[in-house]
């Protein structure tokens, strides 16, 4: 009796030990399995399917049976559609203008915040960062009122400046008028004229993302050892020289990285132009604010052309890839080398 019960106990315990060893061995696989399951269903499979779809002609309203293989016709259609090139141009315009401004402001700003401020650094950083975390839809609607032609705050500000005494004085004088030739005398039709829509969007995008870049550069600058600056200061280098000869070169990997993020982000710009420039017509008057993402949305959801929408997304993917590669060729190799 006694021996048999101890036998059972031993068997149980070996089973338990084996179970214990089993769960121990497979725990890590089990723990990361959710990512792979979800990625397969919502990431990998959709990519394959959208590749497949880009070679089909399909209006989803007619059901799955209406799918028809058309070879490269969708790609051909997109590549011969003037609206696609317009949207690509718009996207590049907004991206280049607003990103350039963002980085030109963010790099020196981060330098000032990290190296010249002792207190209040976080307070200022947080202030510049607020736009980045707020709802794009809400803020684009608010900007809509700012850009009003007659009563928008922006135009009223510009006109108040334009009608101020010093500007009026310069404008009236024969020698100074060229100095103020750029100051508008009439209200700007920001969203009412095709050529002003992209600048308006670029202003909004700049405002929303320059704080994000400032934070990226601040994080990069914080990793540069303080001794470098101290040594330079002992050698008599002023702040500007320290910025040019220490911060900038050592910041190159971060610059490369931040510009890559700007490229990837701005090529997918959707929310801001969709709300501020509007979706009817897409991107405002003459589609002047229609980005590639909006073109893709219009193909898929307004025109029900899922095939050409899928083709557009793959073209966009390759455009992003090519631009990042060019960026890497110009900036990356040296930038990454200088890291180590």
């Amino acid at each position: 009796m006694a021996s048999s019960s101890s036998m059972v106990k031993q068997e149980e315990s070996t089973f338990e030990t084996r179970l214990f060893a089993f769960q121990r061995k497979f725990a890590p696989y089990l723990f990361i399995a959710p990512f792979f399951i979800l990625f397969f269903i919502f990431g990998f499979f959709p990519l394959l399917f959208s590749m497949y779809l880009s070679f089909q002609s399909w209006n989803p309203i007619q059901g799955l049976g209406a799918m028809e293989f058309v070879g490269f016709e969708n790609y051909l259609w997109v590549f011969t559609d003037p609206d696609f090139y317009k949207s690509l141009y718009n996207t590049l315009w907004i991206g280049v203008v607003s990103s350039t401004a963002q980085h030109i402001v963010a790099i020196p700003l981060a330098f000032i915040l990290v190296l010249r401020l002792k207190q209040l650094r976080h307070l200022f950083t947080a202030a510049y960062f607020v736009p980045f975390i707020t709802s794009t839809v809400a803020i684009a609607i608010v900007f809509n009122t700012f850009f009003g032609t007659q009563y928008g705050v922006l135009n009223q500000g510009i006109l108040a400046f334009s009608n101020s005494a010093p500007i009026e004085f310069l404008r009236a004088s024969s020698w100074g008028s060229w100095l103020v030739a750029w100051v508008p005398e009439e209200p700007i039709r920001w969203l009412g004229r095709a050529k002003n829509i992209k600048p308006a969007l670029a202003i909004l995008v700049f405002w929303k993302y320059f704080g994000w870049n400032t934070v990226l550069y601040s994080a990069g600058l914080a990793t540069i050892p303080k001794e470098y600056y101290d040594a330079a200061e002992i050698d008599g280098a002023n702040a500007l020289q320290r910025f040019r000869h220490i911060s900038l070169p050592l910041l190159r990997p971060v610059i490369f990285f931040a510009i890559s993020l700007s490229i990837i982000g701005s090529m997918q710009l959707f929310d801001e132009p969709f709300i501020l420039a509007g979706s009817n017509p897409m991107g405002g008057i003459n589609n002047a604010g229609m980005t590639v993402a909006m073109y893709l949305y219009r193909e898929g959801f307004n025109y029900n052309q899922m095939g050409s929408a899928a083709a557009t997304s793959w073209i966009l993917f390759f455009v992003i890839g090519i631009m990042t590669a060019i960026q890497f060729a110009i900036n990356g190799r040296e930038g990454l080398d200088s890291r180590g």
């Binding site: 950083t125 009122t145 007659q150 709300i275």
Partner: protein, 278 residues
């Protein structure tokens, strides 16, 4: 020395001006939400608070079920946040604390999915939503299930586990007979509370602001999240009071401003960490 403080003075002036320019749109939003449409579009523009707050609130309520939309956004945000915290910390824990076959390959694969632009999956996402019958789903399955175990979240949690949990602690728990999950749940998770806080905040903010994916997954007014509801009244801005529309935007932005005010350090450093080290 004299010179230095003068230059510092101008530096501060510049920083303050830039900060005012950055925050001015928010100030103006709160001012405009208290004005009628005719006041909003007048010269000079209103720069101080008016007294149409109540009218704007009522006009907004008659245009959209605003409180319902708020509840939708809060509910969706909470579910997204909770599920992301569970699955991302599980994944991050596995990658930080275990040595197992193919670990580096799997980790590299997870990181490489960062490179896929989200817009690429928009069309197949919309089709998948219909395939699963998730279009207008009252539980918003389409909006939180796919993102439960995000690469960003796993990566972020991995960093936190690597710096706060130790293998000795895991071994000690094993000796005491705890299963791996038990060790994770009762010992490791409490140690990474700051990480959970950061990831939770970022997930909630992302869910709150998400627009494009809800736009293709929902078209029923009662199910609209706040950004969708705002967009729906903006589309009819000729017939609706702009004061009410601006009231709606303030309604959408204020919770985030409060959250940011309380936890700006955590939010900023979390985002910077995820980006720079990724």
């Amino acid at each position: 020395m004299q010179n230095l403080s003068v230059s510092k003075f101008f530096l501060y002036i510049g920083l303050v001006i830039l900060a005012i320019l950055t925050l001015f749109p928010f100030y103006l939003m709160y001012v405009l939400m208290t004005h009628s449409a005719t006041d909003i579009f007048s010269a000079p523009p209103p720069l101080w608070f008016g007294n149409s707050l109540r009218e704007n609130y009522e006009a907004l309520l008659s245009a959209i079920p605003m409180w319902r939309n708020l509840l939708n956004s809060v509910g969706l945000g909470m579910v997204s946040t909770f599920t992301a915290l569970v699955f991302c910390s599980l994944g991050g824990y596995a990658l930080a604390m275990y040595d197992f076959r193919y670990k580096n390959v799997l980790f590299g694969f997870i990181l490489s999915t960062f490179l896929i632009p989200p817009i690429l999956s928009l069309i197949p996402f919309a089709l998948l939503v219909h395939f699963f019958k998730w279009f207008n789903h009252p539980l918003y399955l389409a909006l939180w299930v796919p993102g439960m175990a995000s690469a960003f979240g796993i990566f972020l949690m991995r960093q936190f586990f690597a710096s706060s949990m130790s293998k000795e602690l895991m071994d000690a728990a094993r000796v005491d007979g705890a299963t791996e999950f038990r060790t994770f749940w009762s010992i490791a998770l409490p140690l990474v509370r700051p990480g959970l806080g950061t990831l939770g905040l970022l997930t909630f903010i992302g869910s709150w602001n998400n627009f494009l994916f809800p736009l293709v997954a929902i078209n029923k007014r009662e199910l609209f999240t706040i950004p969708l509801a705002l967009r729906s009244i903006q589309g009819t801005a000729d017939t609706i009071d702009w004061g009410a529309v601006i009231f709606g935007t303030a309604f959408a932005v204020t919770p985030l401003l409060i959250v940011f005010f309380l936890a700006s350090r955590q939010i900023i450093s979390g985002l910077a960490q995820g980006a720079v080290k990724g």
